[in-house]
């Protein structure tokens, strides 16, 4: 899978509002189910496929995202290859 960007997520700043989940065009953000930060809120985690489009950063009311674009897109292994 080609990955053009990535994000750094400030988990402790998150208030678990889910706005980034719907805003993400490639839909690679997913909320935790059981894990929470020290404030007790669920927070987003990143799956492979980020394009560095900044939609999450622009919609986030709590400034949780820092967005990077790779100089050269990465090829990430997926499926069974990624687990080995």
């Amino acid at each position: 899978m080609t990955v053009r960007g990535t994000v750094v997520i400030d988990v402790e700043a998150c208030k678990g509002c889910d706005l980034c989940i719907d805003a993400c065009p490639p839909r690679v953000l997913e909320m935790t189910v059981h894990e929470v930060n020290t404030k007790g809120y669920r927070y987003p985690r990143l799956l492979a496929g980020c394009t560095g489009c900044q939609a999450c950063a622009q919609i986030c009311p709590d400034f949780v995202f820092q967005v990077y674009k790779y100089d050269t897109p990465l090829e990430l292994p997926t499926g069974e290859a990624a687990r080995q």
Partner: protein
Amino acid sequence: MSADQIYISTDKPPAEPAALVDDFAPSLITQANHHLCPGCGEPIAIRAAVEAIEELALADRAIAVFGIGCYTAFAPNLDVEVVQALHGRAPSVATGIKRMLPDGFVMTVQGDGDMVNEGLQEVLHAAARGENITCLLLNNGVFGETGGQMTTTTTLGQRTKTSIEGRDPHQHGHPILLSDLIATLDGAAYVARCAVNNAGNVARTKRYITRAYESQMAGGGFSLVEILTMCPTGWFVDTLEGPDYLQDTLAPVHNIGELKTP
């Protein structure tokens, strides 16, 4: 999560060569932590507003006048000079500042309860006089700070704490569509309405705010950008439903788009 998905580490910047394209908060927001509710639209709008200030290099001569509302709690987090006005009176305070400092960049940040309920005459007269200031209206259709009561921009049928069965025109009257009203005044140079309920609309919000700032710096006259914001706490909806609620309830009445351009 399906079986072939694994999570990417997001606790530190990537090791591979990469360019930082969006930092956590713009540099004019010095304190990113705030006490506004989860899913609130106001920090999104304020981010767009300060990013536009940064891009036009107006930070060293910007003075923001804040009204009274939830967003008031955000004012100390900004690296912009802020004057706190009485409820609804921000356009009049901004008028005084702009007349004393004509080279300054003066904006107001107000909510619908502040600008349209409490201070309607201030903004109408400032617009009619053609004061060269920019007003930002964060419109969520409720008094968010006091717990979600009806304001005058609440749409017909919208349920709030003080219109439990939905806003009824016979009992509560009709909503005031402020931007449409201001656009009819000759003193207004730029009037636009937008929303922050999805990434596309956030980008559009920033574009409209930039045009309003440019209009002020060109001496065009009064400019107003109305921004529809989410208030899931005041609307009593889930944070994830906020953007759709805005789209279904506020946006059909408060139409998004540029209403008046120079």
